[in-house]
Structures are given as C-alpha cells and as structure tokens.
C-alpha cells in the first residue's frame, strides 16, 4: 500500500457533510487523505458500496452520519451502523483489516470533530498501511445465526 493512504468518507448531507463544511469555514486543518463523497443519508450506503470503495483502491472508508436520534430520515443512521458492522465482517473474510472501515457520528455543528475524526482515522490507516495494528476498538463480530441477517433486520 501507498505511503499516503486515500480515504473515502461517505458523509451524510445533513450532518457530517455540513460538519465538513464547518470544519472548512473554521479552517480546521486535517490530513489531505480524506475524499468526501456526499450521500443523502448514511442509510444509503450499502455494504457493497463500501467494499467497492476498497476494490477501487481506497485504503480506508469512513461512513459519517448523524447522532443516534437526530437522523433527518429518522432511522437511516441506525440502519447504516448495522450495515457497516456487516461490511466489517465481509471485509474481515477477505483478509482486509476491518479497522479500515468505521462509522462515526458527527453532528452538523461539529466541524472540529469532523477534523479530528478525519485526522485520527487517517492516522489509523497509516499505521495499518505500515503494518501496525490499529488501536481502535472494533466491535467484535458475533457469529451470525444461521438464518438471521442482522444487517437487514429493521
């Protein structure tokens, strides 16, 4: 992997994307590695969208949505959290470290948080690229039940 990782950040229009704007307005500096993809809601991000970003060469993917309870579409972020957890399992199966994918809650007003989150995630990916272990606490994947797709349960 490259020295300078490329990170795709799927950002919800109503919160994280707005926070990214605010980070800009406030001139909060963060690494240049972040590439933002605007989406109407994190609930729009399917597992495969995330996997494809990796296929196309992303070193890390962050999905950033509203805080629980303040989704513009009521529960899109709740669905997204589950889908990201599922996508982490799928990544792990392929041998890609699931720490390369993370969901973050960033409210529209949290410009500085967007910047620090971006910086932290970039640092994590850099460490992973260098062969180090990420320090992130990943939600450990439970073995899925035979016929239960947790990610698709409402």
């Amino acid at each position: 992997m490259k020295n300078e990782p490329t990170i795709i950040a799927f950002c919800c229009h109503y919160c994280a994307f707005t926070a990214a704007d605010l980070a800009g307005t406030m001139r909060k500096q963060y690494p240049t590695n972040i590439r933002i993809v605007r989406i109407p809601c994190t609930g729009k991000v399917s597992e495969n969208m995330v996997l494809q970003a990796f296929v196309e060469g992303a070193d890390g993917v962050m999905v950033a949505g509203c805080e629980i309870g303040s989704c513009h579409f009521i529960q899109g972020n709740v669905r997204a959290v589950k889908r990201v957890a599922h996508a982490k399992k799928l990544l792990e199966e392929t041998g890609v470290n699931p720490d390369r994918l993370e969901f973050y809650h960033v409210a529209a007003s949290q410009g500085p948080l967007f910047a620090t989150t971006s910086a932290e995630f970039t640092e994590r990916i850099k460490q992973l690229n260098a062969g180090g272990k990420a320090s992130a606490d990943t939600t450990s994947a439970e073995t899925p039940q035979e016929t239960v797709h947790d990610s698709s349960r409402t």
């Binding site: 399917s46 597992e47 495969n48 996997l51 494809q52 990796f54 296929v55 799928l90 990544l91 199966e93 392929t94 041998g95 890609v96 039940q145 035979e146 016929t147 239960v148 797709h149 947790d150 990610s151 698709s152 349960r153 409402t154």
Partner: protein, 231 residues
C-alpha cells in the same frame, strides 16, 4: 420460498482461485428474497473476491451476472450463455436446483454452488427466516392445527411432544419454539386438543425424498413434440 445462505467465503475463494476466469451467477427469485444470492450478494461476493485476491496475491478475473430464475431454461439466454462460455468456471448463487440446472445446461463447464440451500421457509420478520415445510409429499399440517411436525419438530415426531419440550422451547435449541408446544397451544385454543389422543400411525414417506427423486407430471400442460420451441 427456498431459503439459502451464502457459503463461507474461504470455501468460495478456494474454488474461485483455482480458475483464471470465474463468473458469479445470481438468481433473481427465492435466493434474492432471502438475501443469499441476488444481485446484491453477487456484487458483494465479486468485491470480496477482488479484495481477497489482491490481499493474497492471486490473479483471477471475476465477472458477474444475474438472471431471473436458474430453474427455468429460458432465462439462460444468449447473453448468459456467452458470459458462461467466456468463463472457466461458474459459481452460482442459486439454490441447489439452480446449481444443477446450470450444470446440466453447460455440461462442459465447472459449476460450483455458492450457497447452501437450507430449507423451505418464510420471512418471519425482515432478516429472519424460519423453516416451515420439509416437502414430504403428503401434507398433514391440517391435522396439527396448521403447524407441521415433520418440518418443525427436531425429531419429526408425529405423536409428540417428547420429554425435552421446555417452556415452549425445543431442547435442541433454546431459541427454537417446540413445534409440539405450538400445536398443543393452538389446539387447546381451538378446543380440539382431545384430537391428539388419536394415534397418528407411521407416516407414508414414499412421497418424500425417501421415494427417490420425485417428478410431477401434468400431461395436460405438456407441449407436444411439434409445438415445443427450439432452444
């Protein structure tokens, strides 16, 4: 509907990596509904194989295609045939029926099963499917208040429940309802519990899988040789 679940990724990877060009063939009917082998799952597997081959340093090409049903001849159209021909092997994400049908249609091609076909079942709620029918060939559900002991009792007891029924759950799996507890409850509600004092005699299994591969023929529906379409 037929309910399946995708095989373990490592299994599929081992199969795919033996070939240079692999086609992932999805099925747009039952396995789509149970989220095991529709277009989305095909694309996910496609991405996964690509990522894993990069991680593991293997070199093979993956293509994808999904058709409406893999258990009917006509859906294997020209485009599908062309894509299958272009690949060294096919991993089909259809149920066992589809896998066989595909193998029969393309005898020269290596066809792998991408999913495990598990049961005939229902979507109990989104993301949760449960077995409801065992396809035994002789439906006795109506004797048991609409709950099938063949499919839903771990021992297929016809005169249950066994001693392992506990708090309405099966001893084999505490998450699973004891079919007989359900039967008793429902029959009690219907006021037909006493019907259970009749012994259900040994079942005729000849209509089931035990009678060999089964066929159903509707002579009236069959086309004459002359009217069959080429294909």
């Amino acid at each position: 509907m037929i309910v399946a679940e995708r095989k373990l990724f490592d299994d599929l990877y081992a199969k795919a990596s033996k070939h240079k060009k692999v086609l992932l063939l999805g099925c747009g009917t039952c396995v789509t509904v149970c989220m095991a082998g529709g277009e989305k799952e095909v694309d996910i597997l496609d991405s996964q194989l690509k990522l894993a081959s990069r991680e593991r340093g293997d070199d093979f090409e993956v293509t994808t295609h999904t058709i409406v049903r893999q258990c009917d001849d006509e859906f294997f159209d020209e485009e599908t045939s062309r894509k299958i021909a272009a690949a060294d092997a096919v991993i089909t994400l259809a149920c066992g029926v589809g896998v066989q049908f595909c193998s029969e249609k393309y005898p020269e091609k290596r066809v792998y099963a991408g999913v495990n076909t598990v049961f005939y079942g229902a979507t109990v709620e989104q993301g949760l499917w449960e077995e409801r029918c065992a396809g035994c060939g002789e439906c006795i559900v109506d004797q048991f208040a609409g709950i099938c002991p063949v499919a839903r009792c771990a021992k297929s007891l016809m005169n249950g429940p066994c001693g392992g029924s506990s708090n309405g759950k099966c001893e084999v799996d505490k998450e699973t309802d004891c079919a007989w507890a359900l039967i008793v409850k429902r029959m009690k509600e219907l006021g037909t519990l006493e019907e259970l004092s009749e012994i259900t005699l040994p079942k005729d299994w000849s209509t089931s899988r035990d009678g060999g591969p089964r066929r159903i023929v509707h002579e009236s529906l069959r086309l004459d040789e002359g009217t069959k379409k080429e294909g």
